[in-house]
Symmetry: C2
Subunit: 415 residues, 2 copies
């Protein structure tokens, strides 16, 4: 397996990108009418080959890790880059699980027989060609495309996916790697809305903003997750502590981890010291408003930037709010419309919070960490959207499909 990096002239690069996109469109056309059983067989074959070629994969990954170490990548980035037998096994299990999901393609989602006898069917179809851009470093945009840090690993993975497509009789070009180190390739691809139906960027905010600016096709994305836990005056103290600690500490580097704690002023004097101590004991640095700092020692002052920040780390902003409405206003102002929770035992407060907080997922008495395709029962997850168009929240198999109308008549014309 050679390193998949080709130096190309500008015009060759444009032609290469167009060819990639065109091949993808042709493969998508074949896939659009392929039986579900064939697609399931492909997923099972890939799972099998991941195990069979484990040694090659780990060796290729080792080369990427060595390069990354030499380039001085941060520990978190190295950790994301690393493949292990356990991770490959988990990936294989995931593939089997996706294959076991019901096929959304061809399913009639809605139907309507019109007074003139026309049968109007709304039928699930594939979304088409998806351009997936990801980077192995979550916070710093070094580069666009499939992460050159993972070049060797990606080359082997892509070969496995394509081999298995050929094996079950599906077009190999249904999966293609953009194998050039030239970041201009991304700009070319983002303009090809004739061939590409959707782009999904995964990575740091800077990467995602660039994609959203340049893309002519829809973008499925979230910029960041500044998630809140609001502890209402009627909150059960033990539940509040358990959920705040879980939301902040269970996996602080991911988008659905909490970044900000809000506490109702009526219970702040009692609850805030308890919650802050629990967080501090787990190594969380707290940055709070004036009222918080009066109640809890060792809290640094918070700025407006703190309340808007996605730390992705053991840091949390803290504010005392006057009431439920102030909490809602704070979240809608500073939040990122991703995942926000209220801890309460008041029915009306739960109703108002879930209606008025304008986020993709709103939680009552549960950790924000549950905003996840598997946890929501979607059976898979390719990302979380904070946009309101197409899919919002976690995106599983169905969210990666579209629909068409099929209209069956017996000669109807329009009057």
């Amino acid at each position: 397996m050679t390193v998949p990096i080709k130096p190309l002239s500008p015009s060759d690069l444009a032609a290469y990108c167009k060819q990639l996109a065109h091949s993808a469109r042709s493969a998508a056309q074949v896939l659009s009418t392929a039986r579900g059983g064939l697609k399931d067989r492909w997923l099972h074959e890939v799972a099998t080959l991941l195990a069979a070629r484990q040694e090659d994969l780990l060796a290729a990954n080792q080369r990427d890790l060595e390069t990354a170490l030499r380039l001085g990548l941060a520990d978190a980035a190295l950790e994301r880059l690393r493949l292990t037998p356990q991770r490959l096994e988990a990936a294989a299990t995931g593939l089997h699980e996706v294959a076991a999901l019901p096929d959304p393609i061809g399913r009639v989602r809605d139907s309507n027989v019109r007074p003139n006898g026309l049968q109007v069917l709304k039928v699930g179809v594939p979304l088409g060609v998806i351009f997936f851009i990801y980077e192995s470093r979550p916070n710093v945009t070094l580069d666009l495309r499939g992460g050159k840090e993972a070049a060797h690993s990606n080359a082997v993975l892509c070969a496995i996916l394509r081999n298995c497509l050929a094996k079950v009789g599906l077009p190999e070009d249904a999966v293609q790697l953009v194998d050039t180190a030239d970041r201009a390739a991304v700009g070319h691809l983002l303009k090809l809305d004739t061939f590409i139906d959707l782009v999904i960027p995964r990575g740091g905010e800077e990467l995602i903003r660039r994609v959203a600016e340049e893309a002519r096709m829809p973008v499925l994305k979230h910029y960041k997750g500044n998630c809140h836990v609001y502890v209402d005056r009627s909150a059960d103290p033990a539940m509040a502590e358990r959920i705040v600690v879980n939301a902040k500490c269970q996996r602080p580097g991911v988008c659905n981890a909490a970044e900000s704690l809000l506490v109702h002023r009526d219970v702040a004097a009692v609850l805030l010291p308890r919650l802050c101590t629990a967080l501090q004991q787990r190594g969380v640095e707290l940055r709070g408003c004036g009222r918080t700092r009066e109640l809890v020692p060792g809290v640094l002052p918070a700025t407006a930037e703190d309340f808007a920040a996605e730390y992705l780390d053991l840091i949390m902003s803290v504010a005392v709010v006057d009431d439920l409405e102030a909490a809602i206003a704070h979240i809608n102002q500073y939040g990122s419309r991703h995942s926000d929770a209220i801890i309460t035992n008041e029915f009306a407060a739960a109703q108002r919070f879930t209606a008025a907080v304008d986020s993709a997922a709103v939680f009552v008495n549960a950790s924000t960490r549950f905003n996840d395709g598997y946890e929501f029962g979607l059976g898979a997850e390719i990302g979380i959207s904070t946009d309101k168009c197409h899919a919002r929240g976690p995106c599983g198999l169905v969210e990666l499909t579209s629909y068409k109308y099929i209209v069956l008549g017996d000669g109807q014309v329009r009057e």
Copy 2:
């Protein structure tokens, strides 16, 4: 009512656009939790006021028409611009009909109780702020924004919408007119994805392409409608004639009118002269492939541009195709993924055509003219989308909504 055109300095213009978008966002926040009954009352009030202020509206429209005549607008554009008592009455009826539709907001679209007891609800919510750009001239992009040709009419209409909002106690800024003649305003607004959730351009292809290029938020659109009718070898001749004539001639200037006729070669000798004569008798200019021209006198030669064209006029391209697969390939190559029909009596052909033609709406034995929100039973239509993300095909009330996840727990944390 003064003409709503303000000359602004570049920095004032940017501030003005930001203010508009910010006010819209604030109004949307209030509307998001407003009861459905209030929104329905607003629609009824607007319908009433349209009738009560009919004279003002027609007078304002008359001023626009006079300016348009002086500027030499084409007849079709003048026709689109014109308000009549009948059109106002039809609009009022439409408003009452929309008010009568079930409110999609707050409806649980899907739900799932997880093994850990979490109740996951997928609930309909408003899409948020929509930036609607339309032009009164369908084919030529003179300008962006709400069509300055309709400035007087739009000012009165907008005042009616806002008065009625205030009357029922909803925020007036839920409807705002971008009242500046400066086309740079559009560029500013298209960047404000913090405040604007969706942009809907209605007008010529050039306008829509500019919006798709510049917008940072999702765009609900179709560039054009190059719609096909394919007459299969088993087609009923009378039905084929009726549908082809209807699809082409009933209203040639709209996006779901047919622009291209394909006929299976086995029946071309018999059917094509009949179909072409029927079209020619209705004044349709035909542009055909070589085989068509051999069979039918008076057909001009068609170029590749003809097969890709959206004429929006009494012109039609015609081709003889070898078989069903050739028809599908032709449509997927030249079509615009909008509306395409097959006339057939073969089950397998209908199945294959509806599965393989990659268009928003695919018809069997019915006219492409039925691709319309009202005709599909959506109860309203704001436009037709040929994108595969968010909404595809006609967009009614539900297609202009989004959803959020509401997750109800009793203290769950993630393991």
